[in-house]
């Protein structure tokens, strides 16, 4: 039962000096440990993103009773995408709150709870629906610490799937990374693997500022190996740090969320053709890890940014500008951005495929930047 002891100690360490809570937490951290043990026994340290999110939320809610989850279908339905599976019997309806369908209302309630001392996790069934609540995310959450000069901080997490799924049409498929990424006062995170999901969600919940946590529906079922360190309940990833998923020296490819997977596959294909691509998993859209990206581009001299969202004013545009500001002299070719098409997402399967970046697009762009030796190429 060594792992149980380790978890208890970790939980105690995390919770600080509040010995009174330890007793209550003990029961819960044992349950968490048991779940973790089951994970050890069966999955041999592999976890789906869904399980990672579930375990991270579970541990944070167990560790701090101020953390609660609210959203549509999070309780009895166990989460629209089953991320909060098992939570209702464990934490009860006061901490796993099924809301009516009123994003503006319940988001406002969450922000108000954060103003007054709790640590809500607000789940949106998709970030498209968060548009009904965006006034509260931006005006009530993001701007408040500033407007109140530190009087009121807003330790809230807004999470949910972002970006396209499969055949769900224009109103269910938008990527909001660029919109939220442009707003001061927000922290915007986008995990890729299960470890990312665990570490970033825990960091987000512990963070005293509003965090927009962009998941991806198609990634929920993807399985990744997880290190022993990541399974520890105190595991946290730093906010604002990108991760180099694959090293290379010919071209830098930046991506986030699902696109990291595509970029890694593109890098495999490129490697066979003699081009080694360095793939950076941004992890944090805001703050953007500019030093890491710049350092990489200074090494490779070429950059391709990949994102699923709309092209104009996208994440790639911001990265491009960052390079121009800091590393212009190091560029051997113009920066290429691969984005979703500049159209609302069509429903038809073949059109949807055309509207989203595919591996071939990334490969072609990487080749273009590698073979172009004159920066001012003819108009494409």
């Amino acid at each position: 039962m060594l792992s149980v002891l380790r978890r208890k100690a970790a939980a105690a360490a995390v919770g600080g000096s509040d010995a009174m809570l330890l007793g209550g937490r003990l029961r819960k951290s044992c349950a968490a440990a048991a779940a973790g043990l089951r994970g050890y026994a069966t999955a041999a340290k592999e976890m789906t993103v869904r399980e990672a999110l579930n375990s991270a939320l579970d541990e944070e809610m167990s560790a701090d009773p101020k953390v609660f989850l609210m959203g549509e279908e999070v309780g009895e339905y166990q989460g629209a995408y089953k991320v909060s599976k098992g939570f209702l019997p464990k934490f009860g309806p006061e901490r796993v709150v099924d809301t009516p369908i009123t994003e503006a209302g319940f988001t406002g309630i969450g922000v108000g709870a954060a103003y007054y001392g709790l640590k809500p996790v607000v789940e949106f069934m998709t970030f498209n629906f968060a548009m009904q609540a965006i006034d509260h995310i931006i005006n009530s959450a993001a701007k408040t610490n500033y407007m109140s000069a530190g009087n009121i901080s807003v330790p809230i997490v807004f999470r949910g799937p972002n970006g396209a799924a499969a055949g769900v049409g224009a109103q269910h498929s938008q990527c909001y990374a660029a919109w939220y990424g442009s707003c001061p006062g927000l922290k915007v995170l986008a995990p890729y693997s299960s470890e990312d999901a665990r570490g970033l969600l825990k960091a987000a919940i512990r963070d005293p500022d509003p965090v927009v946590f962009l998941e991806n529906e198609l990634m929920y079922g993807e399985r990744f190996p997880v290190s022993a360190e990541a399974l520890d309940s105190s595991f946290c990833l730093p906010i604002g740090k990108a991760k180099i998923e694959r090293e290379g020296k010919d071209v830098t490819i930046t991506a986030f969320s699902k696109m990291v997977g595509l970029s890694l596959e593109a890098a495999e294909i490129l490697a066979k053709e003699g081009i080694t691509a360095e793939v950076i998993n941004l992890l944090s859209i805001r703050p953007l890890d500019r030093p890491t990206i710049n350092a990489s581009v200074r090494k490779t001299n070429r950059l391709v940014t990949v994102e699923e969202g709309f092209p104009q004013h996208g994440v790639g545009a911001e990265i491009c500008m960052s390079i121009i500001e800091d590393s212009f002299g190091y560029l051997d070719a113009p920066i290429e951005r691969i984005t979703g098409a500049d159209v609302p997402m069509p429903y038809a399967a073949n059109l949807e495929r055309m509207a989203l970046p595919q591996i071939e697009d990334i490969v072609r762009a990487a080749k273009r930047v590698c073979h172009r030796s004159v920066p001012m190429a003819a108009t494409a």
Binding site: A104, A165, G169, P346
Partner: protein, 434 residues
């Protein structure tokens, strides 16, 4: 057409309601007031309110007394004053069977991979769509949300067009670009098809606003077009709903708000989500009649619809109609539907609107079994034809990706050569890949 529910016996004088605070409201108060704040007439006998919704039809006053009186007679042999003619009966039957058969075919096609994404089926709720939409003209508008296939079919969009749309083919009513949740038709004035619940309500209110505007500002004297907005119980907790009830009543817009209360919003029971589950009561709070009707009975729905649509057409303003109905299938084809009590499902399955209408038609000798079977067969053929058509239709060409983003494609801006990009014939070919 009579200006009131046939059952009205007492004349409702404005200002008489203040004196009627105690005791049961007169039967005539069932929604029939041409003036004044209808809301104040709806005094509830709180003690008599049932704890559960079922069996509440005797208390809630809004159901037409004609229909209530007819109900016991229905099971006996034909009475002389039937609610519908034979033609109407067959039309209603055909429309409901079309909806049901179409949705069943959708389920089959989905599991075979021909359609994808989110598909929300309407089985069990056909009485509401048929009851309302079959009373509308082509120029009247219908607004729906994601459970919109049957609204589209009732409004007149062909089964072929809807099926092709679901298959993602270019012959679909939205050329494959919209999908299951986004059915639009300018010809039939089906204004959507929305993924967000509540989104259609302000749009519907706007369409009603346009009707009124055309009559009063543009002086189109004969513009009496009505808008009918369909939405569910979950939507009734959304702010937009209340904002629009207010404005529609304030400006007396020609709109009918139809709540398809099937008790469930995905897995969230209406009773868990709503402080006061009786949605029809929210109408009077804003100054419009609120009517509750048995949504599993197409004839009752039709009676109420006639009155509500008539009110709107005459310029008397909006009505809120709550239809008690049920979806036989899960929220969507991806929903395991584990939370609903099988007893509840069985209760409503026994009230299948199509079975009920068939029974009424046969018992009233409006038509024969053979005629109804012929309709069943005809619908089967229509649906099979729709599937074949959709299968055989082409997928959208690459060039379609950039079409229809704007009504004026100059919105794509000026290209490097100084001309508008849309003027380049190769525009849609080349830049689809960003």
């Amino acid at each position: 057409m009579s200006a009131a529910f046939p059952s009205v016996r007492a004349v409702c004088r404005p200002g008489s309601f203040a004196g009627e605070k105690r005791g049961p409201p007169p039967a005539a108060a069932s929604g029939k007031l041409a003036s004044g704040f209808l809301g104040s007439a709806w005094k509830l006998r709180f003690g008599a309110l049932p704890a559960r919704r079922r069996g509440s039809s005797s208390v809630v006053v809004a159901v037409s007394d004609v229909v209530k009186e007819k109900k016991p007679k229905r099971s006996s042999s034909s009475s002389s004053d039937l609610l519908i003619t034979k033609e109407e009966g067959l039309e209603l039957y055909e429309d409901m069977v079309l909806g049901r058969t179409f949705e069943d075919m959708c389920a089959q096609m989905y599991y075979r991979g021909k359609m994808f994404g989110f598909v929300h089926l309407y089985n069990g709720q056909e009485a509401v769509s048929t009851g309302f939409i079959k009373l509308l003209k082509q120029e009247d508008c219908v607004l729906s949300h994601y459970r919109d296939h049957v609204h589209a079919l009732s409004k007149g969009v062909s089964a072929r067009a809807v099926m092709s749309e679901l298959f993602g083919k270019t012959t679909g009513c939205c050329r494959g670009q919209g999908g299951s949740m986004h059915m639009f038709s300018k010809e039939h004035n089906l204004l959507g098809g929305f993924a967000f619940i509540g989104e259609g309500i302000p749009i519907a209110t706007g369409a009603a606003f346009t009707s009124k505007y055309r009559r009063e500002v543009l002086k189109e004297a004969d513009c009496d077009h009505v808008t009918v907005a369909f939405f569910g119980d979950g939507t009734c907790n959304n702010g937009q709903f209340y904002e629009c009830l207010n404005m529609a009543a304030l400006w007396k817009l020609p709109i009918v708000f139809v709540v398809e209360n099937n008790l469930w919003a995905i897995g969230m029971s209406h009773l868990r989500a709503t402080s006061d589950p009786q949605i029809w009561k929210k109408g009077p709070a804003f100054g419009m009649p609120g009517v509750h009707v048995d949504g599993m009975d197409v004839l009752k729905v039709r009676e109420v619809a006639k009155e509500a649509i008539g009110r709107a057409r005459r310029g008397e303003g909006p009505t809120l109609v709550e239809c008690e109905t049920y979806r036989f299938r899960g929220h969507s084809l991806a929903d395991p539907d584990e939370l609903r009590d099988p007893a509840e499902k069985a209760h409503y399955a026994a009230r299948d609107p199509i079975v009920a209408l068939k029974k009424y038609i046969l018992e009233s000798n409006l038509a024969s079994e053979a005629e109804l079977k012929a309709i069943d067969k005809k619908i089967d053929e229509i649906i099979e034809d729709a599937v074949e058509f959709a299968d055989a239709s082409p997928i959208p060409p690459r060039s379609q990706l950039l079409e229809n983003v704007f009504a004026d494609p100059k919105g794509f801006g000026i290209g490097p050569d100084g001309r508008y990009r849309c003027e380049d014939p190769k525009f849609t070919e080349g830049t689809a890949h960003v």
